[in-house]
Amino acid sequence: MNYLLRRLLHVLAVVAISTSLGFVVLHLVPGDPLGLATEQAGRSAAARAQLQAQYGLDKPLVQQYAAFAKRAVTGNWGVSMVSGRPVGEALREGLVNTLKLSGTGLLLAVLLGVSIGAWQGWRPQSVIGRMLGTVLTGLYVIPEFVVAITLITIFSYHLSVFPIGGAMDPVLSVVGSKSQQTRDQLWHLVLPAVTLGIGWGAAIARQQRTAVLDTRQEDFVRTARAKGVSANNVFFRHAFPVALPPVVTVIGLMLPVLVGGAVVVETVFAWPGLGSLLLKAIGARDYPLVSGAIVLTGFVVASGSVLTDVVLFALNPRLRAHAQ
């Protein structure tokens, strides 16, 4: 129970910190958050006072925080200062796109990372495995935008195989048939998802390799082999399941990075996700949108870490016994 309590505390703290960050942005910005919005529109002092009242900026800080917390819970962020569009609506759209991209990227990463890493760990003498290891280390350390730009330069600009950016074709999304649209959207997903999958996959592979290398030397693996279980069965039934939890932990630790990494990749590929939305909002000093996006990101990361815990629990019987 102690373990679960700690984890719960952890998740709550993440939510609290990200909410406070969002509040700081919205209310403690040096100068006046309405400065840019009013100056640009050339509004009068009366209009300014009205805007201040509209965003609740004329009330004491404690009241502002209470109002902020209420909005954070209900998800009612008001309207964007720049586009006048409801913030909740913009965030929902961004989140759906980000989940689409990150989900596909993560799926690719897990498939690639787990299989390559497990193979490297199980057959440590293999020459191909070692060469792959060097390549993976390289892919693990280089910044994501370098991979993204290399892919885009080769496949979009010079070979014209994949689109340069965006989530869908502007023409097809209006006039195309349902199947054409689906194919078009998948086509737009390929390069950004591969970029994410390569970087994250390399990180997972490293962890998986170490985990399999470790379990490979365990007594129960030798015993299984000695009692006549085939090599494949030893791997899939005895070694692999034991080597999985540390990898799940790493994937869980990657979640915050995953959101950060997606900002970069979304920007390069002009993907209309949460990251590029946040970046644009910061450029335009659109504070309601910025703090909404920050709080939402915190929630996504926290729920991701809850999910990781659930998976770890399901995979590891020792953890269950420990918690009871």
Partner: protein
């Protein structure tokens, strides 16, 4: 082929650091000097401009050299901050009473799960633009929890070793035990971790500058050079390739160096066979 990787990566990384330090002497032009916006826009590499010119007619070689200066300064400063703060916090937590120490580490774990990118976005939203010094401070602050977790585990592990117990039993003061018996065992692993962190921060800084959140133009950083090159990938790909290649070589050699350091410290730890 014997393993020449460590020597090779040390030489490459050392050369890059040297070039960065000597940038004002080596660079043929100024980093922000717009030479001829009409005749020298996006020129392919030539004899006068060894790596070509960018969209603002600036010499790419000079820009890459000065970019190395900024990027490496930020990375070194941030790594130093993170390593010092992280080691102190982790070391203190390990030597503190159990409950207090655990509390200190809980803070670390929570900080580790806040998305780094959010921290930067908030800072930029608050401050507008960051100077290299502030950028380094911020990167250092974002990275210290990872180092501190490592220092904590290392110190806790060392405390249970028999030579530390022996030192305590012999009547050494706790401070002396820490400085003479525990600290020397920390330098190796922490240097390795620091070098890996350097590579990591280099990549992170370039990512931030690429997004327009780090080093602001006209100041040169490999990241913002790529940002400048983004609209011309189809016509002048070398303007992106130059900073990308610089990043690739630097980050890769730094991480190879870190790998090597890690292996060396691990050999220290294993007992000599036959003893």
């Amino acid at each position: 082929m014997r393993n020449n990787m460590p020597r090779f990566s040390t030489i490459v990384f050392g050369a890059i650091v040297l070039l960065a330090i000597l940038a004002p002497l080596v660079a043929p032009f100024g980093p922000a000097q717009q030479l001829d916006i009409v005749a020298l826009k996006n020129r392919a590499p030539s004899v006068t401009h060894l790596l070509g010119t960018d969209a603002y007619s600036r010499d790419l070689l000079s820009r890459a050299l000065f970019g190395a200066r900024t990027s490496l300064f930020v990375a070194f400063a941030a790594t130093t901050i993170a390593t010092v703060v992280g080691t102190l916090w982790g070391g203190l937590a390990a030597t503190a009473a159990n409950r207090l120490g655990d509390g200190m580490m809980l803070i670390v774990d929570v900080l580790r799960s806040v998305p780094r990118m959010l921290l930067f976005l908030v800072a930029v939203a608050l401050a507008g633009a960051l100077s290299p010094v502030w950028l380094a401070a911020l990167l250092g602050i974002s990275a210290w929890p990872a180092i501190s977790r490592m220092a904590f585990v290392l110190v806790r592990d060392l405390q249970s070793r028999s030579f530390v117990e022996a030192a305590h039993a012999a009547g050494s003061a706790p401070g002396r035990v820490f400085l003479r018996h525990i600290a020397p065992h920390l330098t190796g692993p922490l240097t390795a971790a620091g070098t890996l962190l350097l590579a990591d921060i280099l990549a992170l800084e370039s990512g931030l500058s690429f997004l327009g959140l780090g080093i602001k133009p006209p100041g040169a950083s490999w990241g913002n050079m790529v940002q400048d090159a983004l609209p011309y990938l189809g016509s002048a790909w070398w303007t992106a390739a130059v900073p990308c290649a610089c990043l690739l070589v630097t980050v890769f050699s730094a991480s190879a160096l870190a790998d090597q350091l890690q292996k060396m410290t691990r050999r220290d730890e294993t007992p000599v066979p036959g003893l």
